[in-house]
């Protein structure tokens, strides 16, 4: 396509920064699609919701099927290619397979004419990573993690590598109309078609950054509304499709620093996006134009690895306290629960965590007001053990120990905590244990691609 000045452009639409967490706004979605964008893209997930989604192949969103149905039916009706990155939240093989299966089922249900569906995987066998470490390879940690060890890699339940643009470009070259990506950089599913079409990589990656969370780039704050990014050889323009939103210099510049340590740099497989000399200006259609991004290619490719290790099965209990004397002696009550549990469960490994809402439940040691004495607190007792039965027993006991807390000079003698409902089963506990980079020579090597026919 070309814009009014006759320059070639490519337009990419997105309506969700996290597939399936809530439905995309119907009106802005329809308004955006009516302008016939060149691609429709969606971010299927990220590492943000925590390690359990990768470790346990879980999906967070309850509206994944609804959004996939909207995206597939409307994009196929107009012949617009659809690209989904980091499928199934974590981009695990299961997440990719499940998303492909859902799309095929939707295509059959809606009698969508035959199209080509492509997908790629991102999992790396833990034993392959461990073997490379055993041969002496160094894998430095990101975000303060120490170098990866053979033992730690081996403890991961699952590891994914974070893909760049290359597997998307390969699948587009193979003729895919719909692409389901494994774990990939959030900026890559947008950048890939732009780079493939010959637009400057710096602008392509920057556009990926600006639209990855859809309407969060615009103001006022609204989630799940349609945004279209337009790339030319000189600039990117970000346009909102909800009539109440604008993309302003402040909202765009503000979004460029969202979810990153610094406002100026973003790493992706293959290089560094440098936004430190960008210029923003407001243009027509409530849009903002951005220029000036640079892309500095890496001399050696290093792929990011993400891995999750299982800690155990998890239960949660809730104890609420209103007695001011107990609240003044809260640490003694917690110590009582902790030490009684240590005695009772001395023969098994477990973890107990006490979240004291009303005092410092969110921030813990970082809470500036934790010295204040509230009039009421709610303690969530989080416990993990190797089996479900053990975890249940542990948390039930640790919670009951607030009811039975032994606090000197307490006037209450009928129970020192209000406990309601049963101890609850939660998701299994995982930790991020791999957050490292590994050297690769070929950006496609870890990401096998597949293509097949779907539809009727």
């Amino acid at each position: 396509m070309a814009d009014a000045a006759g320059r070639r452009t490519m337009r990419i639409m997105i309506s969700t920064g996290h597939l399936g967490t809530a439905p995309s706004g119907g009106e802005s979605f329809a308004a955006g699609m009516a302008t016939n964008p060149d691609f429709l893209v969606a971010d299927g997930g990220s590492s943000d919701p925590g390690p359990v989604y990768l470790g346990d192949n879980r999906v967070l969103g309850q509206f994944v099927e609804d959004e996939l149905e909207l995206f597939l039916t409307t994009s196929r009706a107009r012949g617009i290619p659809l690209i989904i990155g980091s499928a199934g939240d974590a981009g695990s093989n299961h997440g990719v397979d499940e998303t492909v299966r859902q799309l095929r089922a939707i295509a059959e249900r809606h009698r969508i004419p035959k199209f080509r569906i492509g997908w790629f995987y991102s999992e790396v066998p833990t034993e392959d990573v461990a073997a490379r470490l055993a041969q002496g390879e160094r894998m430095p940690g990101l975000g303060g993690f120490p170098d990866l060890t053979v033992e730690e890699a081996g403890r991961a339940t699952r590891i994914v590598a974070v893909a760049g643009v290359e597997p998307f470009i390969k699948l587009l070259d193979m003729g895919a109309d719909v692409i389901v990506g494994g774990r990939c950089g959030d900026i890559c599913f947008t950048a890939a078609p732009c780079i493939r079409a010959g637009f400057p990589p710096a602008l392509a990656y920057h556009m990926g950054k600006m639209i990855e969370c859809a309407s969060l780039v615009a103001e006022p704050f609204m989630g799940k509304e349609a945004i279209i990014g337009t790339i030319s050889d000189d600039e990117i323009v970000i346009t909102p499709f909800h009539p109440g939103q604008r993309v302003t210099v402040a909202s765009a510049a503000g979004h460029s620093m969202y979810e990153r340590e610094t406002p100026f740099f973003e790493h992706t497989l293959g290089g560094l996006l440098d936004m430190s000399d960008c210029a923003y200006s407001e243009v027509e259609n409530r849009s903002t134009s951005i220029t000036g991004a640079r892309f500095i290619p890496d001399s050696q490719l290093r792929v990011k690895l993400e891995g999750a290790r299982k800690i155990g099965e998890r239960y949660m209990g809730i104890a609420a306290i209103r007695d001011p004397h107990v609240i003044r002696n809260l640490d003694a009550a917690i110590d009582w629960s902790r030490s009684a549990s240590a005695k009772t469960f001395k023969d098994m490994p477990y973890e107990l965590h006490y979240h004291v809402f009303g005092r410092d439940g969110v921030l813990k040691e970082m809470e500036p007001l934790r010295h204040l004495t509230p009039h009421e607190v709610c303690i969530v007792i989080e416990g993990l053990a190797q089996t479900e039965t053990q975890a249940h027993k542990l948390v039930d006991f640790a919670t009951r120990m607030f009811f039975l807390a032994r606090i000197p000079n307490s006037k209450g003698s009928s129970g020192l905590a209000a406990c309601s409902k049963q101890t609850m089963r939660s998701s299994p506990g995982f930790v991020w244990n791999v957050n490292h980079t590994m050297r690769i020579d070929d950006p496609l090597a870890l990401f096998p691609t597949h293509i097949a026919e779907a539809g009727v």
Binding site: S47, D48, P49, G50, P51, V52, L142, G143, G144, F145, A250, A253, G254, S256, M257, Y258, E259, R260, E261, T262, P263, F264, C278, Y280, E306, I311, R314, E351, H353, H355, G361, V362, L363, K364, E365, M366, E367, P368, L369, V380, E382, L384, G429, F430, V431, W432, N435
Partner: protein, 103 residues
């Protein structure tokens, strides 16, 4: 003495990777931004003191004039979503900034 929320347009925190949380304080005008920058209410030192963390736990601290924003990033106590972490997204870490006094 005004509170930070009376001067800022946006006060937020969010994960930046799995082991860091980044804080963005964005002002509606250059004047409001300058006032807070010059008043030194938001600095590495004041934030380390407010959150009772060692200054080394603040990995980045940037005054970003183009966006009228102050941005800083801290290392978490433990990676996001680990047992014992309640704020998996880091989206409520900004709480104590809202009522911060700005000299």
């Amino acid at each position: 003495m005004p509170k930070l929320h009376e001067l800022a347009k946006t006060i937020r925190s969010k994960n930046a990777g799995v082991n860091q949380v980044t804080f963005d304080v964005i002002f509606p005008t250059r004047e409001a931004y300058q006032r807070v920058v010059e008043g030194r209410a938001l600095t590495r030192e004041t934030m380390a003191a407010l959150y009772s963390i060692a200054p080394e736990r603040i990995s980045d601290f940037v005054e970003f004039e183009l966006a009228n924003a102050i941005k800083f990033t801290i290392f978490r106590e433990r990676p996001s979503g680990s047992p014992g972490d309640w704020d998996t997204l880091g989206c409520q870490f900004y709480g104590p900034l809202v009522d911060l006094d700005v000299p």
